[in-house]
């Protein structure tokens, strides 16, 4: 781009290497050079020498062109390669040439990669050297106050005391170049101030000092006004660029800190940019990925779909979305066209959202809804069974009165009552298992629940001479719970343990704290679970015990589920069944 610009310039431009050989030039230079006869060589050599010493310098040089002496403002400035870049502009008839040359020189200076803070003193030095000033200062107007932005002094002895004075203030208010002689540090100095005008606005002041009385003539005034305008525009543009660069850096940091993979791909599905999260997903560093085709990151998901989506966006020019399942991870992908103003090659932004957790929750809700519907059905049936059971029980009550004294018949009605009791127990368990619509969660202490369950189970345990030991050192933990329902969990586990224990055996209920959870283990010394039973013990109607309803552990799992916990069944190291319930602790709202 710079090459094209340089060649378009009507002014001769050329670059020499440190040895003085021309290494680059534009077409204007080639024409100009062929027209020049002799002369001016010593001045050019001097410019070259000073530029090679690191100075940016401008001088008027007289040259014979087609037999006519003409004046050219020639600017020489050092370049990074170690050589010197020259520009020339005719200044024969007026000050126009040197004004243009000054502008061009400033433009070249500002084309470097240096920051404004580094550039401004160099610009001042260049202007002072070119126009023979001893010192210069650049003022910035900041909140209606003048502040020094940059200074340059020819030598350390020349130190102007920098505070806004008459000349600057007048230049500021009048928008015109102002000249004054002032007494500074006990000697007279000429001061000239030129406003930096960007459009209508005065953005700063350019000020020059010299230790001689040096009134300014009209061409100088015009040149200074023009230089001020040029400098104002260059500074404005550079500030904008620096802001963009800062914003760019900020954006890079921001985009990198986003926890979702973001990729910028070209229209042929190559990676142009990608953020940190995307690099992690790709398993490669930035430099290893940029420029590579998307598909080279892996002939599998998510890369295959990403390529298809990028192609779809390129062909349609509209935003496309896709859902990707890659292994255990679900992604929601949005790809949008990004029309870059400065580039003919359109880019596509791909943002990937990890929806694994959302999908898991959706499935869990769906499962929960199914369970709730099933629960309602089960509870409905259980209710309907209760009424006929009541009818049977009432009829038996009446029959018993009539059968008074007839022992054999009473034995039969007693048997019927046992069957009714069994049906009733099943019905009650089905109601507990199916009940999902009235859980009443409140913060409560697990220790109270465990104490209640143990007390309830003691009766059952004492009947068969089984002892319940409780170790509850760390059981105290606040849980979000439906206390009466949670108590059923431990009553069921203790009842199970009692039923599988022999006389004189002991059951242990032990609670311990884990991070953000309380664990309660109920273990017995009974026969334990058979290996093939372990996967089925929580299934409804699966029972190890004759006469059991097969709902005890299903109810346990159901209620533990409701409390956001987990339950596992296993066998102890010394035999016997161990059921561990893990419940999350509650840390209050918010």
């Amino acid at each position: 781009m710079l090459d094209a610009l340089v060649d378009l310039s009507p002014d001769p431009l050329w670059v020499i290497d440190p040895a003085g050989s021309i290494v680059a030039s534009n077409s204007a230079f080639d024409r100009w050079q062929s027209d020049i006869a002799e002369g001016g060589a010593p001045q050019l050599a001097e410019l070259q020498r000073r530029a090679l010493a690191g100075r940016s310098i401008m001088a008027n040089v007289r040259l014979i062109v087609h037999g006519v002496e003409r004046t050219f403002a020639i600017h020489a400035r050092p370049v990074d390669s170690g050589g010197v870049a020259f520009t020339a502009r005719e200044a024969t008839d007026s000050g126009e040439g040197s004004e243009h040359a000054t502008e061009l020189a400033l433009l070249h200076l500002f084309a470097s990669n240096e920051t404004l803070r580094e550039l401004l003193p160099k610009a001042l030095e260049f202007l002072c050297t070119t126009d023979r000033w001893d010192a210069a200062a650049l003022w910035r107007i900041d909140d209606d106050t003048l502040r020094v932005d940059a200074t340059w002094f020819a030598s350390s002895e020349v130190r102007a005391r920098l505070a806004p004075r008459f000349a600057e203030l007048r230049a500021w208010s009048s928008h015109e170049v102002t000249w004054a002689v002032e007494v500074l540090e006990e000697s007279s100095v000429s001061v000239v101030a030129a406003p930096l005008i960007d459009g209508e606005r005065v953005t700063g002041l350019l000020e020059f000092f010299t230790h001689s009385i040096r009134p300014i003539n009209e061409p100088t005034r015009r040149m200074l006004a023009r230089t001020g305008g040029a400098l104002a525009r260059l500074i404005e543009r550079r500030q904008l660029l620096e802001q963009i660069a800062t914003k760019g850096a900020e954006w890079l940091l921001t985009v990198d800190s986003i926890g979702m993979p973001i990729l910028l791909v070209t229209s042929d599905a190559r990676v142009a940019r990608l953020n940190h999260t995307a690099q992690e997903l790709a398993g490669h560093a930035y430099d290893e990925v940029v420029g590579r085709p998307l598909i080279s990151l892996g002939e599998h998901e998510p890369w295959t779909t990403l390529r298809d989506v990028a192609t779809a966006v390129h062909e349609s020019g509209i935003t496309c979305t896709a859902q990707i399942v890659a292994g255990e991870t679900n992604w929601d992908v949005t790809a949008s066209p990004l029309a870059a103003a400065a580039s003919s090659d359109d880019r596509i932004v791909i943002a990937m959202r990890d929806t694994t957790e959302v999908v898991r929750l959706q499935e869990s809700v769906r499962r929960g809804e199914q369970l709730a519907a099933l629960g309602e059905l089960v509870a409905g049936v259980a209710h309907e069974v209760k009424n006929p059971l009541f009818g049977m029980s009432v009829t038996l009550d009446l029959l018993d009165e009539q059968l008074e004294g007839r022992t054999e018949s009473l034995e039969l009605t007693a048997a019927l009552r046992k069957w009714i009791a069994r049906l009733l127990s099943l019905t009650e368990n089905l109601l507990v298992y199916g009940r999902t619509w009235s859980t009443d969660m409140k913060p409560g202490d697990l220790r109270d629940v465990l104490a209640q369950a143990i007390e309830t189970s003691q009766v059952l345990a004492r009947d068969v001479d089984v002892t319940i030991d409780a170790e509850l050192p760390d059981a105290s933990g606040t849980l979000l719970m439906d206390a009466s329902r949670l108590a059923l969990v431990f009553e069921n586990l203790l009842a199970n343990a009692v039923q599988h224990s022999g006389g004189g055996e002991r059951i242990l209920l032990k609670a311990s704290r884990a991070a953000d959870a309380v664990e309660v283990a109920v273990s017995d010394r009974g026969p334990g679970f058979k290996p093939d039973e372990l996967s089925r013990v929580f299934q409804p109607f699966y029972t190890r015990r004759r006469g059991g309803t097969g709902l005890g552990l299903s109810i346990v799992q159901r209620i533990v589920d409701e409390h956001g916990g987990t339950v596992t069944a296993s066998n102890g190291e010394q035999g016997g069944a161990v059921v561990v319930v893990r419940l999350p602790t509650y840390h209050g709202p918010g």
Partner: protein, 137 residues
């Protein structure tokens, strides 16, 4: 309560007290009616809310035993009977029976003035014992 506290059918009631039994199951009504009659009570029965309300308008009862649900799913006609009884007579005792009772309905029935809310199934001996206790107060 020990078994000896329950009334026996052979223990007759001195002055026959009047009981209304309301349930949509005719076999349950039949058995309960027989049971209470044998205990010596004067028993009327109703199978629907309308029948029950007509009887309540025509007679004064010492005790009403009503099922909570007399129609389809979710019915709570028993609560209407409680209100009706409470409006007509301050001395009539009322017991609700339910196979569907939720804690909310149970609370509401007590608020409306029920004396007892029993969950089906319940042994007749228990129901009779509660009836006798209520009638004695």
């Amino acid at each position: 309560l020990s078994l000896s506290a329950y009334p026996r059918i052979t223990d007759p009631v001195e002055a026959p007290e009047r009981i209304l039994i309301v349930d949509d199951e005719d076999l349950i009504v039949l058995a309960m009616r027989r049971y209470f009659e044998r205990l010596g009570y004067a028993v009327d029965s109703a199978l629907t809310l309308d029948e029950a309300q007509a009887l309540l308008a025509a007679h004064r009862y010492d005790l009403v035993i009503a099922d909570l649900r007399l129609t389809g799913v979710g019915g709570t006609e028993g609560l209407e009977i409680v209100s009706d009884v409470h409006r007509r007579s301050a001395t009539t005792r009322i017991v609700l029976l339910s196979a569907y009772g939720t804690p909310e309905v149970e609370r509401e029935s007590y608020t409306l003035g029920a004396d007892a809310f029993l969950h089906k199934p319940k042994a007749m001996m228990e129901i009779a014992s509660i009836a006798r206790t209520l009638l004695a107060h």
